[in-house]
C-alpha cells in the first residue's frame, strides 16, 4: 500500500519535472520511478519507520504559522545586524521538551533551527541543546507556544 502511494508521488514528480511526453521518454520515466521504489524497498531493511507528515489542514496551518514566526524573528534579527552596537548576547542552554514521539521531536527541532536566532545543536531523550542569539529567544521557546502547536497536531 505504502509502495503504491510512494510510486504515485514519484511518478507525479517525474511528470512535473520532465515536461516531455513522448512514448520513449515516458518509458524512461516509468523505469526510473521503479528503480526509486526498488531503492525504497531495499532501504526498509535499515529503517522500517517512514516519518511522513500527514497532510491535514492542521499541519498546513502549523506550517503557515511557522512561516509567520520566521518572518517575525527575521525582522528582529535584521534590526540587530544593522544596529551599529551589535546588540547580541549569545547563550547556549538546555531546553526541556514535552513532546515524545520522534516525528514531533524532529518537527520541533527543525522548526527551532528554521527560525533565525535560535539553533538546535543537540537532540536528546528529554531535552534539546539550543543556541540562541539573545536570551529572549530561548525564553520565548520556554513559554512553549511552538511546542503547544506541535502537541496539538497529534503526531
Amino acid at each position: 500500500m505504502r509502495y503504491i502511494r510512494s510510486s504515485l508521488i514519484v511518478a507525479a514528480v517525474w511528470l512535473l519535472l520532465s515536461g516531455h511526453y513522448t512514448a520513449l521518454i515516458l518509458s524512461f520515466g516509468a523505469v526510473s520511478s521503479l528503480i526509486v521504489i526498488w531503492f525504497m524497498w531495499r532501504m526498509d531493511r535499515v529503517d522500517e519507520q517512514l516519518g511522513v507528515l500527514p497532510m491535514r489542514p492542521r499541519v498546513l496551518y502549523y506550517l503557515l504559522w511557522l512561516m509567520w514566526q520566521v518572518v517575525l524573528s527575521n525582522i528582529d534579527l535584521v534590526r540587530r545586524i544593522w544596529d551599529p552596537t551589535l546588540p547580541i548576547r549569545p547563550t547556549w542552554q538546555r531546553l526541556d521538551i514535552k513532546v515524545t514521539s520522534s516525528l514531533a521531536k524532529t518537527l520541533y527541532a527543525n522548526s527551532i533551527t528554521l527560525t533565525p536566532g535560535t539553533l538546535t545543536t543537540d537532540v536528546r531523550e528529554d531535552h534539546f541543546m539550543v543556541h540562541s542569539l539573545s536570551p529572549d529567544g530561548i525564553e520565548d521557546l520556554r513559554k512553549g507556544g511552538m511546542e503547544e502547536q506541535i502537541q496539538r497536531l497529534g503526531i
Partner: protein, 114 residues
C-alpha cells in the same frame, strides 16, 4: 491586474535583495561561528522565498512555476538539516559557543545551565 502583480513582484524582489545583503553583512559582523549561523539563516529562510516568489509572480503560469515552488520547498526543507549537521560537527571539533555582549567577548563559554 498585471500592474498590481508587477508591483508586488518588484516589492518581493526588493525585500529579498535587502535581506540577502543583510545576511551577508551579518556573516561579516558576527563574532563567532554560532552567531554567524543565525546570520546565514536570514538569507536562507526569508530572502530565498522572497526572491523566488518575486520570480514566480513575473513568470507566466506553466510547469516552470511548479519547479520554482519545488526549489523553494527544497531550500526550506534542507536548510535546517545542513545547519544542524554543521553545528554538530563544530561541537564535535571542540569549539564551544562564546559569550558576547555588544560584540565584545566577555569570557565564559555561553553554556550557562539554568
Amino acid at each position: 491586474m498585471t500592474v498590481i502583480l508587477e508591483w508586488l513582484s518588484g516589492l518581493c524582489l526588493l525585500l529579498g535583495g535587502v535581506l540577502c545583503i543583510t545576511g551577508g553583512v551579518g556573516m561579516l559582523r558576527m563574532p563567532d561561528f554560532f552567531s554567524r549561523v543565525h546570520a546565514s539563516g536570514v538569507t536562507e529562510t526569508l530572502a530565498a522565498p522572497m526572491l523566488l516568489s518575486g520570480l514566480l509572480l513575473q513568470m507566466e503560469l506553466s510547469l516552470d512555476s511548479v519547479k520554482v515552488i519545488m526549489i523553494l520547498i527544497l531550500v526550506l526543507a534542507t536548510n535546517p538539516t545542513a545547519t544542524h549537521s554543521m553545528a554538530k560537527a563544530t561541537l564535535h571539533g571542540g569549539q564551544r559557543p562564546q559569550e558576547f555582549a555588544n560584540g565584545k567577548n566577555i569570557g565564559g563559554d555561553g553554556s550557562s545551565k539554568p
